[in-house]
């Protein structure tokens, strides 16, 4: 059976599934329940400086987007960092780590942007014997207004500066958690690396308003008639997170920087995808908040089964496996030509492919009077929209036109060789063929 044991930034855990810094990791009670259930590690809910803790709103902290059967698709929160006293958190972290030595215990931190504040909190965390720290440069709401969280994460220079302080004043591995609310995710990752970070984790939540109450004209979640943007997470954000992980993984500057993948991971498959795109391990929050800690059994069993089927014996054989295949648009093979094919045995004649193609695409699907739908090869540009809107799995597929065969749309023979935009005759910047 595949070995799921993971070492991430020098931190060991029995499996690559950690609980992200969030409400599920706010106290000993929850974390012990998670460890009992089988989670590999936790990133403890973000600690702030000594003194009176922050306060949270006393109305709704979460808003959600649901599917028709109330399947939770996206979650938004306006909760702040831990609102429990620092000393209680530190004491509990120490107790839990001592009792659960094989599990990863990472402590998330967010203190004001001055060296003394960081130095002070790091001393406390070292005393807990935790395995590492995660710098919360990601939370987009509340704390950002006070110059912390994503306010730091959006300025690469600050990231580098604070990371350097942390590495200076602590021997612990340092993971920098990045905000996605930024134009180019590679810049903060590079800054973290320059500052000496041992790893980055991403994504934190995305600025969001889940909905608007059309009676009160208030954003949701609503607090006494008003709303503020929160941080969006859950299955809906996974594609955004996957891209950001891949961008860092394939950036030569940061290719060796370990990445902890976060963002809508719900099943083993999501985890495998994040790992294939460069994540050394993954962190989960919304799925646990939706279904409870019991999902860890599916996550570990599923990943293990899939690895066995693929012949992978250790997680590092999965990590980065898809990274070489992530490229720029300009390098995509323009001579790879496909056409949609409709399996008439599977087709249920709903006509969605026809409506989509006829109304919004290339008029490449024909409809007969008896509702038989067929692809017009001389019009099909292989956009894949018909595949995406078809309600029947595998009913419409994209079949490659073999090199040497005629592409009926262009009237040209499909070239056998690879050819991309950089050398295409229509490209004014095309390099001369060598």
């Amino acid at each position: 059976m595949a070995n799921l044991a993971s070492t991430f930034a020098g931190i060991r855990s029995p499996n690559p599934f950690w609980l992200a810094s969030a409400p599920p990791t706010d106290k000993e009670y929850n974390v012990v329940r998670a460890f009992k259930a089988g989670w590999g590690g936790v990133v403890w809910k973000t600690l702030g400086s000594e003194g009176p803790p922050v306060v949270n709103v006393n109305g709704p902290r979460y808003g959600a987007i649901w599917g028709a059967d109330r399947r939770l698709l996206g979650l938004n929160n306006i909760e702040l960092i831990t609102d429990r006293p620092l000393e209680i958190n530190l004491r509990e972290i120490k107790q839990v780590k001592r009792a659960w030595k094989d599990r990863a215990m990472v402590v998330s931190l967010m203190v004001p942007c001055d060296e003394e504040s960081w130095k002070a909190i790091l001393k406390h965390v070292e005393d807990t014997e935790a395995d590492g720290v995660e710098l919360n440069f990601g939370c987009p709401h509340g704390m950002a207004e006070r110059g912390m969280g994503s306010a730091v994460g959006q300025v690469p220079e600050y990231i580098e500066m604070v990371t350097r302080w942390v590495k200076q004043h602590s021997r612990m591995p340092c993971i920098v958690k990045l905000t996605p609310n930024i134009a180019d995710i590679r810049k903060p990752a590079e800054a973290a690396l320059k500052g000496g970070a041992d790893a980055v984790s991403l994504i934190n939540t995305i600025n969001s308003i889940t909905s608007v109450n059309l009676d009160d004209f208030s954003p949701e979640p609503m607090i006494d008639g008003k709303g503020t943007h929160g941080g969006y997470c859950g299955p809906a954000v996974k594609p955004i997170a996957l891209n950001m992980v891949a961008e860092i993984a394939r950036n030569p500057e940061t290719a060796d920087l370990p990445i902890s993948g976060i963002g809508g991971i719900t099943t083993w498959r999501d985890a495998a995808e994040f790992m294939a795109l460069g994540a050394g391990n993954v962190q989960v929050c919304t799925a646990a908040m939706t279904y409870g800690f019991g999902i860890i059994k599916e996550l570990t069993a599923g990943l293990s089964l899939w690895m066995d089927e693929k012949g992978f014996t250790a997680t590092d054989q999965v990590v980065r496996r898809a990274v070489p295949n992530v490229t720029d648009w300009q390098y995509l093979n323009l001579n790879y030509i496909t056409k949609a094919r409709i399996d008439q045995d599977l087709c249920i004649s709903c006509g969605r492919c026809f409506a989509a193609c006829e109304d919004t695409s290339h008029q490449a699907i024909a409809m007969s009077t008896d509702r038989v739908f067929t692809v017009k090869d001389d019009e099909c540009v292989a956009c894949n929209l018909c595949v995406n809107v078809c309600p029947v799995e595998n009913c419409i597929t994209m079949e490659r036109v073999a090199p040497g065969a005629l592409d009926e749309r262009t009237g040209e023979v499909v070239p056998a060789e690879y050819g991309n935009w950089t050398t295409h005759p229509n490209n004014p910047m095309a390099k001369a063929a060598e």
């Binding site: 599917g67 109330r70 709903c350 969605r352």
Partner: protein, 447 residues
């Protein structure tokens, strides 16, 4: 409780009142909001959707389901009522398995169609509960139209005529409007007084007056109507019932199924309604099923439904027949009644088995008897009391595609007209379409 299912004879109160109330409650309760949203989510919003084609009134089903998905059942109801003003009743009584749901691509793909009928009910109930009428009449045309029959065809015709600005008087022989919706459909399909509620709501358009207790050839005549009104629509249904033509048919305990169904629908306390211990229903259509199932629900111990041809030839749908069997009705096919035995009252019915031969149905020679203290005849209805001036076709009033009869100024639709399917929904479509043709004839306007 004095009686039980095993009490001999035709007696009331075989079941206690709680059991009766439960038996005659809604067959399928209305979806709640969440159920509706989940059911609506299954709709694929097909292009040129087959369900619309399959609906005799051509309701834009994908649109109304999308409106439910979008949280506006009232808007969905408006979409339904635009095409079918009897949408609330049709949601309950339509044989959806052979119409919209039978054509649903998900029925074909997975044997599980989108539950269009129940979604339609969810939408129409939501709008009717608000008790406002969503249509506004056009400016008065000064024209008056007489409608004979306050059933689905007549009411649909009257509503569409009123909508177009005409004044309408609807005559009906019965004491209450509604036609078969009120008198001819199983109680559990029309629970909660929906038939009268629908009529009241429909009349909210204004411009329609209903005169009950007036039958054609009795209190009113076609000649007078033609003289007094600008147009006449005939939608009086089929008042006659076919006879068995078997000796003993006149014995006590032998009754028309339609009369039993009508009496049941008009009975407020079902524990007062007598029913036999051994009930035999002869026929294979919806009326036979409704009589047989309701006999069981009233507490009859043994109920058989006997049809002279095979199951495939039965007028009732598979869905209805399965429902009957689930309720404990025994279905016997390929058997025709030979004679009704008994001493004054029916005691037994004798049947002969049949098979199809080269010249049609022929007896096999084998016979059997069923014990019966009550026998319901449900072998079809026929047109009765139709004015001689009207041309007929197959025993019904001959009509054009627009519902025009052989007489100028007279239209017809519903069960009394030739070519229909004897369904609420087809009657509604015919009434509506005749109204549009009447409107064009009276005003020269095309709608």
């Amino acid at each position: 409780m004095t009686n039980c299912p095993q009490t001999d004879g035709i007696v009331p109160a075989r079941l206690d009142t709680d059991q009766l109330a439960s038996n005659f409650g809604d067959l399928y309760p209305c979806f709640d909001d969440h159920e509706a949203r989940v059911a609506a989510d299954r709709c694929y919003f097909c292009y040129d959707a087959p369900c619309i084609t399959a609906c005799p009134t051509a309701i834009d089903i994908p649109l109304f389901i999308r409106q439910i998905q979008a949280g506006q059942p009232e808007a969905a109801a408006r979409t339904i009522f635009d095409q079918n003003i009897m949408g609330a009743m049709c949601a309950r009584v339509c044989p959806t398995e052979t119409l919209c749901e039978g054509a649903c691509v998900r029925e074909i793909a997975e044997g599980q169609p989108v539950e269009i009928g129940r979604l339609q009910r969810y939408a129409t109930d939501a709008l009717m509960e608000r008790n406002d009428h969503p249509f506004t009449r056009a400016a008065p045309t000064g024209k008056q139209v007489a409608v004979v029959g306050a059933g689905p065809a007549g009411l649909a015709c009257a509503h569409r005529l009123a909508l177009r600005g005409h004044e309408v008087v609807v005559f009906d022989a019965r004491p209450k409007p509604g036609g078969l919706n009120e008198y001819g459909i199983a109680a559990y399909k029309a629970a909660g007084g929906i038939a009268q509620a629908e009529v009241d709501w429909l009349l909210g358009i204004g411009g329609i007056r209903i005169e009950t207790g007036k039958s054609l050839g009795g209190e009113i005549t076609l000649e007078e109507l033609r003289k007094d009104y600008d147009a006449v629509f005939l939608g009086m249904g089929l008042a006659g019932v076919n006879a068995l033509r078997a000796p003993g048919e006149d014995r006590d305990g032998v009754r028309n199924a339609v009369d039993f169904i009508a009496e049941l629908r008009q009975t407020t306390d079902l524990s007062t309604l007598p029913i036999g211990r051994h009930v035999v229903v002869i026929g294979g259509g919806m009326t036979a099923v409704d009589a047989a199932v309701q006999s069981r629900l009233l507490g009859a111990e043994h109920v058989s439904m006997v049809y002279r041809r095979d199951r495939g030839a039965m007028g009732a749908s598979d869905y209805e027949l399965d429902h009957a069997q689930k309720e404990g009705v025994k279905i016997i096919t390929n058997a025709m009644p030979l004679s009704v035995h008994g001493n004054g009252a029916v005691r037994e019915v004798e049947f002969g088995y049949t098979r199809s031969g080269p010249t049609g149905l022929e007896p096999t020679g084998e016979t059997f008897r069923l014990r019966a203290d009550q026998l319901f005849k449900a072998i079809g209805q026929r047109l009765e009391g139709v004015p001689e001036a009207l041309a007929l076709e197959g025993g019904k009033i001959a009509v054009s595609a627009e519902g025009r009869t052989s007489l100028p100024g007279v239209w017809a639709g519903g069960d009394c007209a030739a070519g229909g399917e004897d369904l609420t929904v087809t009657a509604t479509a015919q009434g509506r379409d005749a109204a549009e043709d009447i409107h064009t004839a009276l005003t020269g306007e095309n709608t």
